[in-house]
């Protein structure tokens, strides 16, 4: 994972320290709901100034992890450090330094956008200028509109604005792009990359692979409360699917017998395509064509590509992200 090159605060000496100190560190974080182990001895480190994504299917434990990190839910075990602050012991100190967008959060319906931001800003000793925030969130036209009159996407943007109102070092965003149209998602990406450019650390969850790939310096793939693997998108792909993928139309009817084809390591029959994973692309292609000749099959929809984050996710969790 890349080290930060632009911290906003501190002297050179302090910066040296920051280099060694994670912006956020989770140690053995654990949460049980009755018999359900929602988060299972989770360890994570996020270096300062990075965008870090938590990926996982529904119910993987992402929100629970974030809520424990934010001091909203007491963990059954483990520690959370924001820089050198123990969040669970000193939540009041930590709250000044992080900003939060909850997966579902509501605001007073009868206040306007501006009033909402002012209300939250006034709760902190240092707050950003509300007008600047409104412009940044693209809510200028809605500044005087009441929350009740906002669309779902506009509410999301307001929630993001509220998360930034205290000029936080670390920003937690739980599914910030949920419910946004494609254009608004791009704008959100710009905002998030802007936060990084300002030296803030961003921890987010998402169900969109492209989003994770575009934004993340580091990411963790979670399921059943555990981190299955973490790293940069490239690292994860290189570690789990170093080779290439050959896709053909599912109608071709390639079955498990094709694992015998030289060079093919595994086969996945997905809905949209049958995927052959290989680390020796030429050999596998030759073998596949030969197999098709023997079996008298037409290789419809044949194409090759390199592995994506989505492939890694499927391999690790065995589930599609949005199932």
């Amino acid at each position: 994972m890349a080290l930060p090159d632009d911290r906003r605060t501190g002297t050179m000496a302090e910066m040296g320290e920051y280099m060694h100190q994670a912006a956020l560190r989770l140690e053995n974080l654990t949460k049980r709901y009755g018999a359900l182990l929602a988060v299972d001895h989770l360890n994570l480190e996020v270096p300062p100034g990075q965008i870090f994504s938590l990926l996982g299917p529904n119910g993987a434990g992402k929100t629970t992890t974030l809520e424990m990190t934010e001091g909203l839910r007491p963990p059954d075990e483990g520690h959370v450090y924001l820089g050198d602050v123990d969040v669970i012991r000193h939540p009041a100190v930590a709250r000044l330094r992080f900003g939060v967008q909850l997966q579902t959060s509501a605001f007073f319906e009868l206040l306007t956008v501006r009033e909402t931001l002012e209300l939250f800003g006034n709760l902190y000793p240092n707050a950003l200028d509300v007008s600047v925030l409104i412009t940044r969130m693209g809510l200028d036209e809605k500044a005087a509109a009441r929350v009740e009159a906002l669309s779902g996407g506009q509410r999301q943007r307001l929630a993001l604005g509220v998360a930034l109102v205290n000029d936080p070092e670390v920003v937690f965003l739980d599914e910030p792009s949920a419910g946004l149209d494609p254009q608004a998602r791009r704008n959100l990406w710009d905002v998030i990359l802007g936060l990084k450019a300002e030296g803030r650390t961003v921890v987010l969850t998402t169900h969109y692979m492209d989003e994770a790939e575009v934004l993340s310096d580091g990411l963790a793939i979670m399921d059943h409360g555990r981190v299955l693997d973490a790293g940069t998108p490239r690292e994860l792909i290189a570690r789990h699917l170093p080779g290439a993928m050959i896709e053909v139309d599912p109608a071709v009817g390639i079955g498990s017998e094709a694992t015998g084809i030289p060079g093919v390591t595994s086969i996945e029959r997905r809905e949209e395509a049958t995927v052959l994973v290989t680390e020796r692309l030429e050999e596998a292609l030759v073998g596949l064509v030969a197999w098709a000749g023997r079996e008298r099959r037409e290789l419809r929809g044949l194409r090759t590509r390199s592995a994506t984050l989505e492939d890694v996710f499927l391999k690790l969790t065995g589930r599609s992200l949005r199932e």
């Binding site: 909203l72 709250r95 909850l102 959060s105 509501a106 605001f107 209300l119 902190y124």
Partner: protein
């Protein structure tokens, strides 16, 4: 502390913009008072069904007919009895055919379903007939009463009785629904959680919420009292500081009970039957519309301990001008409210949950 005021001013704005909420807070108190003030002001002459044999010309009847206090309605015996029984006539007066022996007996049948009204009718008619007797005798009366109204005196109307009750009722509804239902809704929607990741302390959030409902309760009280005295001519005493204290204590009772509801209920929907279950019996039994003393003894004994009974009792004691805060009779109500605040507050602290 700054956080409390920040949130409080935002909440006041939310409350003032919630037109529907304000409307319902004021609607029942105002409607109740307006309706009952009209009932109280209904024309005050006494309607008498007159039953006399054809051709009788009793001098009593002639004099009664001329008097503005009575309206005579000649009718048959059967109809007269029926109308009195149905409450359409206040009484039926039977005049015998001719007077042979003195004194002539005039029979007055009155409806005793409403004891007070019945006695009033009997009293008025008897007094009037006595006057006639004196006049007919031709002798000057031995005594005369010179009745003169006192300065600032007043007839206690039903509205005067009702006003403190309506205030108590509003205090209960505002506090109980506000916290019980309103706070549960914020909890359900996630507004509370959002504030928990800010530096605002949980007690500050609750403090601002409580202040908001207290402000609403006091403002509504002022509007109700103003309307009742200025437009509906209620005549009540207004010892402002004492009233403020009792209103605050009353609100504290119901805010604490509201917190119990908000602690127990998971959704706003679930709070509605609970709140109704608490408020409905008190609304009808706690001396809002009629005195607790008119309830059956055993029931009155229980109702006596209801928080709304204490609040209404204290407010009525003050506003009728009969009691001050220092009066011994006031002590029960004040102590009762304090006890309710303490007990409900204790339970609320036990059952309260943030999620």
């Amino acid at each position: 502390m700054k956080g409390i005021w920040t949130l409080f001013s935002a909440l006041i704005r939310v409350t003032v913009r919630n037109r529907q909420g304000l409307f319902w807070t004021l609607f029942f108190p105002v409607v109740l008072m307006v309706v009952f003030s009209f009932l109280g002001n209904s024309t005050s002459h006494i309607n008498i069904a007159l039953v006399e044999p054809r051709g009788t010309e009793s001098p009593v009847v002639t004099i009664l007919q001329k008097s503005p206090g009575f309206a005579l309605h000649p009718m048959s015996r059967a109809r007269a009895l029926a109308e009195v029984r149905a409450g359409q006539m206040d009484a039926a007066l039977f005049v015998p055919k001719s007077a042979t022996t003195a004194p002539t007996t005039l029979t007055l049948r009155y409806n005793n379903a409403n004891i007070i009204a019945g006695q009033e009718t009997v009293g008025s008619v008897t007094a009037f007939i006595a006057q006639i007797n004196v006049a007919l005798s031709g002798r000057p009366p031995a005594y005369r009463v010179a009745a003169a109204p006192m300065a600032r005196s007043r007839a206690s109307t039903y509205l005067d009785f009702l006003l403190p009750g309506v205030l108590a009722l509003m205090v209960m509804q505002n506090s109980l629904f506000g916290i019980g239902s309103g706070l549960t809704r914020w909890k359900e929607k996630g507004i509370l959680r959002r504030f928990r990741v800010t530096p605002l302390k949980p007690v500050e959030f609750l403090g601002a919420t409580v202040l908001n409902y207290i402000a609403v309760g006091l403002a509504t009280s002022a509007i109700i009292i103003g309307l009742a005295t200025a437009l509906l001519h209620a005549t009540v005493v207004l010892p402002l500081l004492a009233l403020l204290l009792v209103l605050l204590l009353g609100m504290a009772c119901f805010l604490a009970i509201g917190f119990i509801v908000a602690g127990v209920a998971k959704t706003q929907e679930a709070t509605i039957p609970i709140v109704n279950l608490i408020s409905f019996p008190m609304m009808f039994l706690s001396g809002i519309f009629f005195p607790v003393s008119s309830l059956p003894k055993t029931l009155a004994h229980i109702v006596h301990y209801f928080p709304l009974t204490y609040v209404a009792g204290a407010l009525r004691g003050l506003m009728s001008g009969q009691l001050t805060l220092a009066a011994p009779a006031m002590r029960t109500d004040l102590l009762g409210m304090v006890a309710w605040v303490a007990i409900a507050g204790f339970v609320a602290a036990r059952v309260w949950r943030w999620e």
